[in-house]
């Protein structure tokens, strides 16, 4: 009888010595597979490929906001040199046209941004310009959302966002870059 009980006790015990190993294994596995670095960036939708260049000359001049970036990373906006710092405010003014000026966009719907750079332009400058243009639109959409729905664009539901996007669409046309500048070849 005594023998039986000792046997029974043995069979009921599970050796917990290896539990630590299992735990470490899981730990190591998850440590290795998870990547902590998150990827953030400016999300862009490229236009579909077509052989012919988009022709912006047939558009009304007042609706086109042309931004040129040359190989020395200088900006020319509607024929005027400009610093990147001013770009956002000028873009916002152009799109919304609060004073109904004759030389700015008729409505935000008709506003078109035309961006052209050189093959020698620094990518950093290009992205900064793109960022400012995007920022101008984001701020305008935000203002519109506050006015219309009383909350920021970020917190609007999909339907409200779509309504605002339809009224302030981001139309950005990128022309084939010029090739005057030195490319980084050294």
């Amino acid at each position: 009888m005594a023998r039986k009980s000792s046997k029974e006790r043995l069979s009921n015990e599970i050796n917990a010595g290896s539990m630590a190993d299992i735990a470490f294994l899981l730990l190591i596995f998850f440590l290795v597979t998870t990547t902590i670095v998150e990827d953030k960036g400016i999300l862009v939708k490229l236009p579909p490929w077509s052989e012919e260049e988009p022709d912006i000359t047939r558009l009304k001049e007042r609706n086109v906001f042309s931004v040129l970036v040359n190989a020395s990373n200088q900006l020319l906006v509607r024929g005027q040199p400009m610093r990147i710092g001013e770009l956002k405010e000028r873009t916002k003014e152009f799109i919304s046209n609060p004073q109904r000026r004759e030389d700015l966009a008729e409505t935000p719907k008709k506003a078109i941004i035309s961006l052209k750079n050189d093959r020698g332009t620094n990518y950093k400058t290009y992205l900064e310009v793109y960022n400012e243009l995007q920022a101008a639109y984001n701020e305008l959409r935000n203002e519109e959302a506050l006015k219309r729905f009383g909350k920021e664009y970020e917190f609007c539901n999909n339907q409200q966002r779509a309504a605002i996007r339809a009224d302030i669409p981001l139309i950005l046309s990128e022309a084939e870059p010029t090739a005057f500048g030195e490319e980084s070849t050294e």
Partner: protein, 155 residues
């Protein structure tokens, strides 16, 4: 009936747990070999510019990465110092992009394919020439959702 039950209860087998760690290690090695640990080793130096209007990329499995930058010191004798394009872990040419995209596309289930995004990780000092070539090739391949990878900047 009672006879059987008694017998079974009596002869409960002892399982040796001494080999358990070995099995566990075997599993560990199996997973270590099988899992793709992280993105490819970078052969080009990429220091992305800063920006404010950032979107976070969800769903890592739907993202493919294209790197553009100057080859790092170790590979300069092999690839030179001009900015180059890296696809996966190979330094490649612009013509290799369609195949690279297709290889990624077949791994994604069909209903998720419209959500595939190309993340362009480009060094800030690179000039737009090569970037433009890559963009043109992406457009030709019908990959229009593009993310210009950037670091957050405080306003």
């Amino acid at each position: 009936m009672s006879k059987f039950a008694k017998k079974r209860g009596k002869s409960s087998p002892k399982i040796s747990t001494a080999s358990l760690p070995d099995i566990i290690f075997m599993l560990l090695f199996f997973f270590m070999v099988v899992t793709v640990l992280r993105d490819a080793e970078l052969k080009v130096a990429v220091n992305t510019p800063q920006a404010t209007e950032l979107t976070k990329l969800e769903k890592k499995s739907l993202v493919n990465y294209l790197y553009i930058g100057r080859p790092v010191k170790r590979f300069q004798s092999l690839y030179g110092t001009k900015p180059r394009l890296q696809l996966g872990d190979k330094i490649s040419n612009v013509h290799d992009i369609p195949l690279f995209l297709e290889k990624h596309r077949v791994k994604v289930s069909e209903n998720q394919r419209p959500g595939i995004t190309s993340s362009l990780r480009i060094d800030g000092q690179v000039t737009m020439g090569i970037v433009q070539d890559v963009k043109t090739e992406l457009r030709k391949s019908g990959q229009l959702k593009v993310n210009y990878s950037a670091k957050p900047r405080a306003n």
